[in-house]
Each structure stands twice: as C-alpha cells, then as structure tokens.
C-alpha cells in the first residue's frame, strides 16, 4: 500500500493529476473517494471489497473533461476502461491508471483467471486456473433440462436492475430493458426469458467478465455464467474478446464486410 500512497502523493504534488479516485478508510467503512490533496492520501487504502471504480470514474471525468485524473485499477477495472475507450465513452489521454493486483483470497472469491492489471504498483501478478465448471455443468444438461434450469433462475428476478446499474460497460442513456413494448411494466419476474436474454445479447462484445453483476444480484441468479457463455460465443465466432488491448472494433459495432457466414 505504501508504494501506492507515495505514487499518488507524488502525482498530486507535481500536479500531473488533479485528483485520484481510490478507496478511503472512513472510520469503520471503506468507501470510494476522490483524493484531491497530498495530505489526504494518508487514508488511501486498497480495501478487501471490490467497488465499481470504472463505473464511478466517467461521472467525474465527464464533468471535468480538461483535467487529468488518476484511478486505482484492478485487473477488471482496467479491462472496463479499455472497453470504455473503445466505445468512445472516455478519453484515454485524460486517465492515469495505477494498477493493483488482487490478493489470492479475493481472486479465489471472484473466480478470476487474471486478477491483475497490465502494470502493478502493489501486489504480484499471479494467474489462476480458469474454473469452467459452472458452464460445463449447464452444457451437460439436455435442452429441456436447461430450459427448466434457466426458467427457474430467471423466475427469481425481482427486476432491481442491479446487474445493469453496476455494470461498468453499461453506459446507454436510454436502456432497452426499460423499453415498454419489449419489457411490459408491472410484472415480477420480468418477462421470462426476454429480460435476461436481451441483456445477455447486449453483453455480446461488451462484457469483460468482472462479475459485479452476479455479486450485486439479490437473488443469486448465475448471471456471470450466462455472460461468460456469451463471451465464448463471440470469441469463437468473431475472435473478439472485450478487455483485450487490441485496435479492433467489436463485431456488432459495424455492419462488416460480408465474409461472415452462418454455419
């Protein structure tokens, strides 16, 4: 943590950045906070819990487009930022990310294969094996069993919009899930399976597999499993994986060149 605090203090003192978005120890709470003075950096911590840094950051960056801003990034936050640059939601030149590798426990809890950003100020980059067991289990079921399984899961939904609200790559100002002709008002659970199928389709070419959606779901729907499948489908069909540092347009952003053929 000290190397991080030193780095942030230096950046603030030299006015390389106007402010730094990180976590602050506030009595017994660890909260996201924007540090603007070198003195205040004493209370900067990394914290045990993951908060959506990449979701909060654009709010500040859009209000102050002429300032350079620092942000504490984990592996997932960095991927989210790459996708935000790709979708023209954030200016890369405005952002100075400081990388933090996740602890072994957090990486275990998150089932994350790459719990580290490209450059770490704190922590060591340690890869973990990718646990595909949830997907394997579902794929081993028959079609009818899968339908029953997912209908049961989607039937738990209380339409809190938590998955969409917390998702760092969900930035649309007008959301399809609030479109009345598609998703009628006043139904709990919301249209099964349209609601979740629509969201899953929107995640094609966008989802970075951060897992915040599943963590924020009050009824434990296995959203991450569903979106991981979408990621695999997009990777297989179009060789595109969101979060990778590649100069590529996502497959659904452009009409294409006509070479893609349905099998």
């Amino acid at each position: 943590m000290d190397p991080l605090r030193e780095k942030v203090k230096t950046l603030l003192q030299e006015k390389t950045i106007s402010a730094f978005l990180g976590m602050k120890q506030d009595y017994d709470h660890a909260i996201p906070f924007l540090f603007t003075s070198p003195e205040g950096v004493e209370s900067l911590i990394i914290g045990d819990a993951r908060y959506p840094m990449a979701k909060i950051f654009p709010k500040i960056a859009h209000k102050y487009p002429d300032h350079h801003l620092g942000i504490m990034v984990r592996g997932c936050d960095e991927k989210a930022l790459i996708e935000l640059y790709r979708n023209h939601q954030l200016e890369r030149s405005q952002v100075i990310p400081l990388g933090v590798a996740c602890s072994g426990e957090l990486a275990q809890k998150c089932n994350c294969p790459t719990p580290y950003p490209s450059q770490c100020i704190v922590g060591e980059a340690q890869e973990r094996p990718f646990d595909r067991s949830a997907l394997d289990t579902i794929e081993s079921l028959s079609l009818e069993e899968r339908f029953t399984y997912w209908t049961n899961q989607f039937g738990k939904c209380i339409k809190c919009y938590g998955c969409r609200n917390i998702c760092p790559v969900c930035f649309c100002e007008v959301c399809t899930l609030e479109d009345k002709p598609l998703i009628p008002l006043g139904e709990i659970p919301p249209q099964v399976p349209s609601f979740h199928l629509s969201r899953a389709f929107h995640m094609a070419g966008r989802c970075i597999d951060c897992g915040l959606c599943e963590e924020g779901c009050p009824v434990d729907i296995p959203l991450r499993t569903l979106y991981r499948k979408v990621r695999e489908v997009v990777k297989d069909l179009f060789d595109f994986l969101p979060g990778e540092e590649k100069e590529e347009e996502p497959p659904l952003h452009t009409l294409g060149d006509g070479t893609f053929k349905l099998k």
């Binding site: 602050k24 996201p32 906070f33 819990a49 908060y51 709010k59 300032h67």
Partner: protein, 135 residues
Amino acid sequence: MRYTTVPTICSYCGCGCELLFEVLDGELVGTIPSKANPINHGSLCIKGWTAHEFVVSEKRLEKPLIRKNGELKEASWEEALSLISLRLKEIKHSSGAESLACLSSAKCTNEENYLMQKLMRAALGTNTIDHCARL
C-alpha cells in the same frame, strides 16, 4: 472537484440495507450498494437503487399546502395543523371514530410510528391503521 460516497441506510423499508450515496460537488448523483453490510451484501432492490432520486426531487413538498377553492395554496404549519385537528374532531363527532383511518410510513422511525398509532387508537379511537410498505 469533490467526490465522496456517504454510507447511509435506505429509508424505504424495514430491511435496512446499507447504501453509499455518491456526492459530486455537493450534489447527490447516484447510489452504490455497500458491500460491507451483512444485511444486503452489496445488493439492493429497485427502491434502494433509486433512493437518491427522491432526495433531490423537485416534487418534494417543502411547505404545508391546503386546498382552497380547488387549488393547493401554501399555508403555515399552525394553519395546517389546526385544520387537521378541527376536521378530525368534526368527522369523529358526525360519523364516528371508525370512519377514520391512518396511513403511516415505513420511512418514519419506530418512535414516530408508535406515536401515530397511539394518536389513532387512544386519542381518536380507531383501529384502522396501516402503512405504505404493506401496499
């Protein structure tokens, strides 16, 4: 340029989920669920997610309003409370205490709700008491 998050408890129902209000330059802009609280574990319902909206809403009442000649007009607390007390007594006298009912709120504190039911049961004499979270 000031941004902070303020830990607070959702005021909507009896669950008491913890949330973090996002405050940017003194303005309330959003809500994030708190991951530190064992009650909600980083989840919220739709009311919790939109809790920041009502705080700064233009539709919030700021002064007592009394309907005069079909239109709502601003009034003082004195005038409003006197009118309420007068009308409640009148209705109790003309139609009986059972014609009175009360709709309280899960947003009130336990103490406020205690006072409300005491007022209705002991002072006015009716059992018809309910609160908004039941709807």
